[in-house]
Symmetry: C2
Subunit: 168 residues, 2 copies
């Protein structure tokens, strides 16, 4: 069994989780979450979560970035997995650091690649387009979903997005 203790490795400056059984050092770095606000005709795609945490609450499609992925690709993949939709990204809405979870969340503005087509994926009970006035604010899964929706709205009126993003 993995059995971690906190110890400062040689040549390092801070304690790391080191396995007493096998000596593996688990450098704990923040994880990136990538997701999207997909809108169509002013309405926004939300997913009702089928899984914990926050099952039954509504969220933007989003999830952990996989190794070697660009955040943009992670957002495309998560929207495909959770809402069965193919989308085109239109720029970064915001970057949200959730300290206690050690997460850096990146949300992108997006539209459907073709006519609006979506469905509930494996981790989703229901996927729906909501007009702004219809958004179920009391049943939103995570605070960063609310922040992102508000920043999405602020950035609506042709505000350019100047965060460069490049991948090699």
């Amino acid at each position: 069994m993995a059995d971690f203790e906190q110890k400062i490795p040689e040549g390092d400056t801070r304690p790391r989780a080191i396995c007493r059984t096998c000596g593996f050092i688990d450098y704990e770095n923040p994880k990136i979450v990538a997701g999207a606000v997909v809108s169509y005709d002013g309405r926004i795609l939300l997913c009702r979560r089928a899984i914990e945490p926050r099952a039954n609450f509504w969220t933007l499609p989003a999830g952990f970035l996989e190794a070697h992925e660009q955040p943009e690709e992670g957002a495309l993949r998560e929207v495909r997995e959770e809402a069965c939709a193919d989308i085109i990204l239109e720029g970064l809405i915001g970057i949200y650091t959730i300290r206690h979870l050690s997460q850096v969340q990146m949300f992108f503005r997006a539209r459907f690649a073709g006519p609006p087509a979506f469905a509930a994926g494996d981790e989703t009970l229901d996927a729906r387009l909501f007009a702004w006035e219809e958004i179920p604010w009391d049943d939103i899964a995570f605070p960063s979903v609310t922040w992102t929706l508000n920043h999405w709205r602020t950035g609506q009126d042709g505000m350019p997005n100047l965060a460069f993003s490049t991948a090699v």
Copy 2:
């Protein structure tokens, strides 16, 4: 000894590194690198690396984000560690995904918090302010340093930066 094999954990969809000795699953996610372009009077702070990789080459102060840090804080910390400088951030320059290293690098525009004061930190041989024409392009440590410097320059003329960034 840690002894990893690639196997798909129960309920997962892709192979992960699982330790044969202790069963620990090492979910491999991209790591975030945060750094800054600190400028003073049109000149840019570069550091000559004291350590591998790319020892002796010039770089922007930058490094791995630690657990629970906001990218902005990581940039401040790295500039303090590598160039002994206190700075104030002025916005995001760019986000660079380095696929083969599984890194997402974030660089910020910055100025000195007070009069320009800096020195070589532990991992730095030399810290210096370079005018644009003086930048040692042939001796730059990493491609993303060159991209960042060019994006920094493009964004010079009062271009606003609209990437929201919030931390809790």
